[in-house]
């Protein structure tokens, strides 16, 4: 019995939150990796692009709520995803045409493009703050919990409760669907294959008649979908605040590089590595240990490896360690 209780504690406080957070990071990391693999630069506007898509979802959610449309027990925000994605892709294409295209044609070094993306980051941030303001916004409606702690306790008679928030479930399910479709697209369709070829070797791809314009266009579209969905899922689960999204750029970068930048599978995996590391290293194991250790050994401190203040620092430290010992990432990077 104690063992089951211990497992439930772990599940409730570490594994489920880590899976959720990992999914959100994974979507962002695949976005970074796609841009890096095909357009060949580190996009410093990542967080703000995600925030831009989410902003439309927030505004549309408020609008839908005001005219009385809702999605039953699911959050209304899910209904707004297609519109938000459309706006996001539009914005990305405008940015690409006005800003990035020039440097791509000139074949500027990646550092130059990264600097340009810093400029895009500033502009995007300004637009977001001017339109929606910097305040914290919650736009979750519908059912909040799938499984409440008290219900679970009654159902099983255990001492520990298990809570599953609906946002956690939605995040995991949506991520699996989106990522599955994307991998299918990259591996099985002709366009996907041409994208991978373009990423592997640009000149050879051009020789075999792949249209670079089309590849770039498709890349931005996929990137827009990933960024918007990732942003909305994060916003539903936590809350929407432009500054937080900007900061999320850093763990997302960490996830992409840890997995091997340029490699979508690696990025997907990297998201979970970062999330699990962050949560497992900052979780206070006292309650867990109380269940599995005999009474004489019960700890009296919190048994926390690091204080939760260092959550971000952990993911960065992992990144630094990976960069030193295996600069190409856990999976070989620079492939699509």
């Amino acid at each position: 019995m104690d063992l089951i209780n211990a497992v439930i504690v772990l599940l409730n406080y570490t594994i489920i939150p880590a899976l959720t957070y990992g999914s959100q990071l994974a979507l962002g990391a695949i976005f970074v990796t796609l841009i890096y693999g095909i357009l060949r630069f580190a996009n410093f506007a990542t967080g703000d692009m995600m925030s831009f898509g989410t902003m439309f979802a927030v505004l549309l959610t408020y609008y839908f709520q005001s005219i009385g449309i809702n999605f039953g027990f699911l959050p209304t925000a899910l209904l707004t995803i297609p519109f938000a994605i459309f706006m996001m892709i539009l914005y990305m294409l405008i940015i690409d045409q006005t800003v990035f295209k020039y440097y791509r044609i000139k074949k500027s070094p990646p550092v130059m493009l990264a600097m340009v993306s810093v400029g895009v980051m500033f502009v995007t941030q300004a637009i977001i703050r001017i339109i929606i303001g910097p305040t914290d916004r919650r736009f979750l409606d519908g059912e909040k919990f799938i499984l409440k702690a008290t219900e679970f306790k009654e159902m099983t008679g255990l001492a520990e409760g298990l809570t599953i928030k609906s946002t956690q479930m939605i995040t995991i399910v949506v991520t699996i669907i989106v990522v599955a479709i994307m991998f299918w697209f990259l591996n099985k369709t002709k366009t996907g294959t041409s994208m991978r070829a373009y990423s592997d070797n640009e000149d050879l791809a051009l020789l075999s008649g792949i249209d670079p314009k089309k590849v770039v266009l498709i890349t931005w579209i996929i990137a827009g979908i990933l960024a918007t969905i990732g942003g909305i899922l994060y916003g539903l689960d936590k809350s929407y605040r432009p500054f937080v999204y900007f900061n999320n750029m850093l763990p997302i970068f960490a996830a992409a590089i840890v997995g091997g930048i340029g490699n979508p599978y690696g990025a997907f995996f990297g998201g979970y590595v970062i999330a699990f590391a962050e949560i497992f290293l900052t979780y206070a194991y006292k309650r867990f240990l109380v269940y599995i250790l005999p009474e004489s050994l019960e700890p009296n401190s919190l048994m926390q490896l690091l204080s939760t203040d260092y959550k971000f620092a952990i993911s960065f430290s992992i990144l630094v360690i990976v960069l030193i010992f295996r600069p190409s990432g856990i999976f070989e990077g620079k492939r699509i």
Binding site: V123, F246, I257
Partner: protein
Amino acid sequence: MLLIILVGIFQSWSIALTIFNYCMISAVMTLGANIQWGYAGLINFGIMGYTALGGLAVVLVSVAPVPEAWSVGGVNMMTCLGIIILMIFSTRYILKNIQKSNKRNYLIAGIIIVGLILIKIIAGPAIEQIEAVDPAKTGFLGGLGLPVLFSWIVGGLFAAGLAFIVGKVALGLRADYLAIATLLIAEIVVSIIKHEDWLARGVKNVIGLKRPAPYEIDLQTSPWFINLVEKFHLTKLDLANSLSERQDILNQLVIDASSVYVKLCFAGMFLVVVIILLIITQKALYSPWGRMMRAIRDNEEAASAMGKNVVKQHLFIFILGSAIVGIAGAMMVTNDGLFTPGSYRPMRYTFVIWVMVIVGGTGNNFGAILGGFVVWFLWVEAAPIALFFINLFTAHLPETNEIKVHLINSAPYFRFLLVGIGLLLIMRFRPQGIIPEKIIKQ
């Protein structure tokens, strides 16, 4: 320069001087970043971390020590420091004397793990005790109580130390990886400063730091200063009708003048720093060493084939640039008189500085200083400028118009727009910056 004088006339001299001081601090940071990027082509997005370390140096050097905290936890903390030093030296010893093998890796891992556990055991209770000492006012070890100017040098040294570690770890990486790695390492540094309360109170901030300039209150009561102000404003004072009115005007003038005087003192000190740094960097740029750096930047392989040690030079220049940024960080905290770890954010302390470097002109010291001035001025004055234009364009709309109200409320965010668009335009049409790099050919 002219713009700042305009602000002085239209807003107030005190504001103008504040902006001017910050411009100079930014200029120093930009010089540091420019040394790394312009001379050597190293991209360092970790400016925030070095700035924060510079600020930390001010606290650690100038604040008076807290004897109670030292007596309850000083010994333990010193032991921990000893353990860390011991760890480093034993690791070095192993690295030198044992062949590369699994055994060596296990030994090093063992040392680190044992060391960390020891530190946790020794430091844990000490930290709690230190933080319990009068938490509203101190709750940290305090500093050395030395003059604050000394901390500028220490800030540089701290930053140089960090740069040495970062450089050893990350300099081998490709440019964009290096940017990300330095940014993340800076985040780690800032989060340590933020959350280790025993060191510098963390997010509780340290206020009332010592100043190298006199305090306003003291000035307002010192007779020589009042006489000076009186002399300056004789004509204005003579217009006053009665003696009491004259006294009121004089008091007001003295209060204004005291804040201007203090800021002038700071401005003078900063100017000295900027000029010294400018002379040194300018000399360095056109010395054989500067020529070698440019050669390495332009073609690493060729320089390496000519027998230049690229790795060593990169590390050296990385440390040098970071040290300058550290000095700037110390100057900034001295100017503010308070240390707020929570305010170190990548937006303000990394990206804006980089915009300064790019806009001013990479590889040109005067360009860096100009970039620091122009961009900082825009950053500060963007809100009033935006407000002016919003009012101009929405003048025909009624006061209660929703769009107008919304726009006026969001005026502060136009600074991002202005700086972003400025950067994009410069990158597109003048990628070498306002003042491009000058190469003197013999």
